[in-house]
């Protein structure tokens, strides 16, 4: 019934609008407006454009100044601080060009609106002017390219030798990380070795695999270069850590990497922002399916000493999944399985709370609950 009423109301409103439209047309016919060369509202539109410009620019500057705390999270990596500076320098140049060109566009539109006795100025070209405004943008662009080039080269150069190496893997719909363990060397992997227990497809015929560990948060030390070795095991994902100005696609079959140096611990930033539960986050920025918007992973930046301590406390994957590894390990490496100090956990396999591939993606809240 309500539907019907709304329908009738809509039809009536439409009919009224139609009527107004018809009357307006007839009035114009009576007034002879259509025989005028220029519509009587010409001046109104000229004024409208200038008003739009004024109000629009006003809103632009007003909002840009009041919303600053919302639209750029603090950069907490060394290269992030530099690219932010570049971003704002470029942005100021662009804002200048944006304001000047739009002002000219709308002010000219207003100023040179049709007047009965005016004649437009026949002005087909002016080579000097054209050369000037080709050369100026070219110079500005050259400067920006040079600047960007320098930063890009610094960001993408080889990572320092002493970098902390961590592997991060994207899957539908979660991130997982793997640390190299005490030998500082990540064990090999192959996608055919992946199963419900061995999410990374770690190769247990490789000795280096035996001390690797997979925590549920990404711990990194402040002030040290960190190298992320990035891969994906099903579709494209993209590691995006906004606070670190870090983004790199995770590609199945083609490992990628990104290195950076964090400059503020989680503790420090929490105090600075006055948000005791603030966390650095990783999100996915390459569309990957149903749960694309929910691939959250937490980064904890800690002081180097804390990091060392934390690192030493981690239990290896092998020690937590002895039974599983026993079935995969070749004879000569089986001795490595028990080498670690006795593990005080129940004998059940896989206590690491990794997301289960068999679960529906939306229910993949394991990681969130841990936060």
């Amino acid at each position: 019934m309500t539907g019907l009423l709304i329908g009738i109301a809509a039809v009536l409103v439409f009919a009224i609008l139609l009527l107004i439209f018809r009357i307006q047309t007839l009035v114009n016919v009576m007034k002879g407006s259509y025989s005028n060369r220029v519509n009587s509202s010409n001046g109104f539109h000229a004024l409208g454009l200038v008003l739009f410009l004024t109000i629009g620019l006003g809103l632009f500057f007003w909002y840009s100044s009041v919303a600053t705390e919302h639209y750029l999270p603090k950069a907490v990596s060394e290269h992030g601080v530099r690219t932010d500076l570049m971003f704002w320098i470029t942005m100021s140049i662009l804002c200048f060009a944006f304001v000047v060109t739009n002002v000219f566009l709308f002010v000219f539109a207003y100023k040179y609106q049709y007047k009965e006795n005016n004649k437009a100025f026949f002005y087909p070209d002016n080579h000097r002017l054209e050369i000037v405004w080709t050369v100026i943008p070219a110079i500005v662009m050259a400067i920006l390219v040079g600047y960007g080039w320098k930063e890009w080269a610094a960001i993408t150069k080889e990572e320092p030798k002493d970098s902390v190496v961590i592997e991060i893997m994207g899957k539908q719909f979660a991130w997982q990380v793997r640390y190299p363990g005490k030998d500082m060397s990540l064990g090999g992997y192959h996608f055919t070795k992946i199963d419900a227990s061995n999410e990374f497809g770690v190769d247990f015929t490789d000795k280096a695999s035996y001390d690797d560990f997979m925590p549920t948060e990404l711990y990194i030390p402040k002030g040290k270069p960190v190298l992320l070795r990035i891969r994906a095991r099903d579709v494209l994902h993209s590691v995006f850590a906004p606070h670190f100005r870090l983004k790199m696609d995770a590609v199945p079959g083609m490992p990628t990497k990104f290195w950076f140096t964090p400059t503020k611990t989680t503790e420090t930033i929490r105090e600075e922002l006055g948000k005791p539960d603030f966390n650095y986050e990783i999100a996915c920025t390459e569309v990957c399916g149903r749960g694309h918007f929910a691939m959250r992973f937490v980064i904890k930046v800690v002081e180097p000493e804390q990091y060392e301590k934390w690192f030493a406390e981690q239990k290896t994957f092998v020690s937590l999944n002895k039974d599983y590894v026993l079935t995969k390990a070749p004879e000569h490496l089986k001795g490595l399985i028990g080498v670690d100090e006795p593990v005080a956990v129940p004998a059940s396999p896989a206590v690491i709370p990794v997301a289960d591939t068999t679960q529906p993606a939306m229910a993949d809240t394991t990681q969130k609950l841990k936060l």
Binding site: Q24, V38, S41, H45, L49, G56, F60, Y63, A67, H70, Y71, L72, P73, G80, T90, L94, T101, N102, F104, L105, F106, F108, Q113, Y114, A120, F122, Y123, P124, E130, W133, T134, P137, A138, M141, L144, V145, Y147, G148, W149, W152, T156, I194, D234, V235, L236, R245, P252, G253, M254, N279, E281, A283, T285, V287, G289, R290, H292, F293, A294, T358
Partner: protein, 612 residues
């Protein structure tokens, strides 16, 4: 092909036979399987408008989701069925909507709807030809587009949903039905539809190029062509060179999906099993895709810029400033458009050195683009501007082109792009510079050439209302997205509640959604105006905008063959507006210098006629 040609020659020989030709054509030949470029143009236009409303409506659904994340969508269930579960939009359907919105807008509206309509309509009329070089291929071009549209439309109604991996359909997501349900039959239909679409646009493009090169009327040298013609010509060349690459990519993807090849797939473990694919590269697909994808931006934009050049000159009553510079900058843009594609791929893991090269090439494009913007502005300077609805839309286009183009300078900088890639900053950027600018170009074109298409005028007042709501609305929709993008909000997110860094801006997102709803609603004013005016609009006179180009020398309702009697001869460039000394503020291209001694410059003399 021969049919049109013979009829063209018939016209040349016996110009007055042309009414006779008409009677021989059945209704179906005249209006359905027509080979007349004007009818085909209208067919493209109707399809374009239909798709635009469809694509726009889709964006409203996901804007509702983003702007009002807690509201129930139960009321949409009669329309969307199982895609609404317990009042919530299904996340996969959200992705499908985003994908379809992009595909429809980029390809069906702004490529077919824009180029298809105006290239078809204007090329023969502005260069003085009876019809396209091949009327038959032209007809095929439209019907391939129709087939492609029909297949895409069917895919929307599949139970597993249409393609949903984004309009860029990156594999492996688009190759594996296990990854997202839209990659099943929906993706198959998407690829089939696009294959037909590419055929359609190639057939059209070949025709546009051939016609412009071969069928220009006497005196219509390349440098006397209106800038619209240059724009359509260059666009067709770009399309011809780049669409086949997309075709190749689609074909390889079909092989990967259906025949077990591994062009784009490698080392995949999904849904509990390791797939046999090995050795392929997903990055290869991205290279192939963007080799079309970037020129596609200009395929969409250049026709709009061409249309705008014509409209701004006509309504400023001034020659377009820097005619040759405009042509040169279009040529430069189109050349550069082929060598900047990898700026979409700075953070895909591509070799960083390539990033450097592509940043350099990308930022060069800013120079010819800036030249174009400056030339438009200078054309307004000291003009005598008449604000027709078409003129307002053209000025709006220039503003969008500047505002959206500038942010491209940041995105083209690989180091700055790290943070902004795949965020709303990108969404804001291309919706302004490519989406809205081209959309305004298309609307400007409809307002300007409607009298030539239908012999009647669109209603001005409705046009003005349409312009103001759309212009303000589009800025209100896309400008705020820059802030959201700088804050790092990723694209194609169903919801922003999962992260600390995306907690803010809920009010701004609501604002954007409301602006989008109002802007979309205003398009119905246009649709009403369009349909109403076809039947009941005020009758147009032959040259309502007092324009110089040849299409306004045809009868009010040009028949098949366009001109009655001989084709017009061209004596001058199309921009003799407000020429000093001339009694009127325009001199059409077909007026010889001999008739305008009072306004001729010293070197302006008619060529000596050679008798054959």
């Amino acid at each position: 092909m021969d049919l049109a040609h013979t009829s063209t020659e018939t016209h040349l020989d016996h110009g007055h036979d042309h009414d006779h030709d008409h009677e021989e054509l059945s209704w179906i030949q005249q209006y359905i399987f027509s080979e007349d470029h004007k009818v085909i143009a209208k067919q493209y236009l109707f399809m374009g408008i239909m798709w635009a409303m469809f694509g726009g409506a889709m964006s409203l659904i996901f804007r509702l989701q983003l702007g009002f994340p807690n509201a129930s969508m139960q009321w949409l269930q009669p329309l969307l069925g199982d895609w609404i579960k317990e009042g919530k939009l299904d996340p996969e359907f959200y992705l499908a909507l985003v994908t379809m919105h992009g595909t429809i807008m980029v390809f069906f509206v702004l490529t077919a709807g824009l180029s298809g309509t105006f290239s078809n309509f204007l090329i023969p009329l502005q260069i003085g030809a009876r019809d396209m070089a091949s009327g038959f291929l032209n007809m095929l071009s439209f019907w391939f587009f129709f087939l492609s549209s029909a297949i895409m439309m069917v895919s929307i109604f599949l139970e597993t949903g249409p393609a949903s991996g984004g309009w860029v359909i990156y594999p492996p997501l688009s190759a594996l039905p296990q990854a997202v349900t839209g990659s099943g039959l929906g993706m198959t239909l998407w690829l089939t539809s696009m294959a037909f679409f590419i055929i359609s646009s190639l057939l059209g493009g070949i025709n546009y190029i051939t016609t412009i090169i071969n069928l220009r009327t006497k005196g219509m040298s390349f440098f006397r062509m209106p800038l619209t013609m240059w724009a359509f010509f260059i666009t067709a060349v770009i399309g011809l060179l780049s669409f086949p690459v997309l075709f190749a990519a689609a074909l390889l993807l079909i092989f990967d999906r259906s025949f077990g090849t591994s062009f784009f797939l490698s080392d995949i473990y999904i849904a509990g099993e390791a797939l046999q694919h090995t050795g392929g590269s997903p990055i290869l697909f991205q290279h192939l895709f963007w080799f079309l994808g970037h020129p596609e931006v200009y395929i969409v934009l250049l026709p709009a810029l061409g249309i705008t050049s014509e409209i701004i000159a006509t309504n400023s009553r001034k020659p377009i400033f820097g005619y040759k510079a405009m042509i040169l900058s279009m040529l430069a843009i189109s050349f550069l458009s082929f060598i900047v594609w990898a700026h979409h791929m700075f953070v895909t893991g591509m070799n960083p050195f390539l990033g450097t090269i592509f940043m350099f090439l990308t930022l060069i494009i800013a120079v010819p683009s800036a030249v174009k913007a400056f030339n438009y502005i200078t054309t307004l300077w000291r003009g005598n501007i008449i604000f027709t609805p078409a003129m307002l839309f053209s000025i709006g286009l220039v503003s969008f082109f500047i505002s959206g183009g500038l942010t491209g300078i940041i995105l083209g900088n690989s180091a700055a792009d790290i943070q902004l890639h795949d965020t709303y900053f990108v969404v804001a950027h291309f919706h302004l510079v490519m989406g809205s600018a081209s959309f305004f170009g298309m609307l400007a074109g409809v307002y300007h050439w409607f009298p030539k298409m239908f012999g009647r005028m669109l209603d001005d007042t409705l046009g003005y209302i349409h312009f103001w709501i759309s212009f303000v609305g589009i800025y209100m929709v896309f400008f705020p997205l820059h802030y959201i993008g700088i804050a790092g909000f990723p694209r194609r997110y169903y919801s922003f509640t999962g992260f600390d860094f995306t907690r803010s801006f809920t009010d701004l997102n609501t604002f954007v959604s409301i602006a989008a709803i109002i802007t979309f609603a205003a398009q119905f004013i246009f649709v009403f105006n369009f349909i109403y005016s076809i039947f009941k609009g005020r009758r147009a006179n032959a040259n309502p905008w007092r324009s110089n180009t040849l299409e306004w020398t045809t009868p009010i309702h040009p028949g098949h063959g366009n001109w009655v009697g001989e084709l017009p001869t061209v004596y001058r460039w199309p921009y003799d507006y407000s020429k000093p000394g001339a009694p009127e503020d325009f001199i059409p291209q077909n007026v010889p210098y001999a008739q305008t001694p009072e306004s001729n410059f010293p070197n302006e003399i008619d060529p000596v006629e050679h008798k054959h």
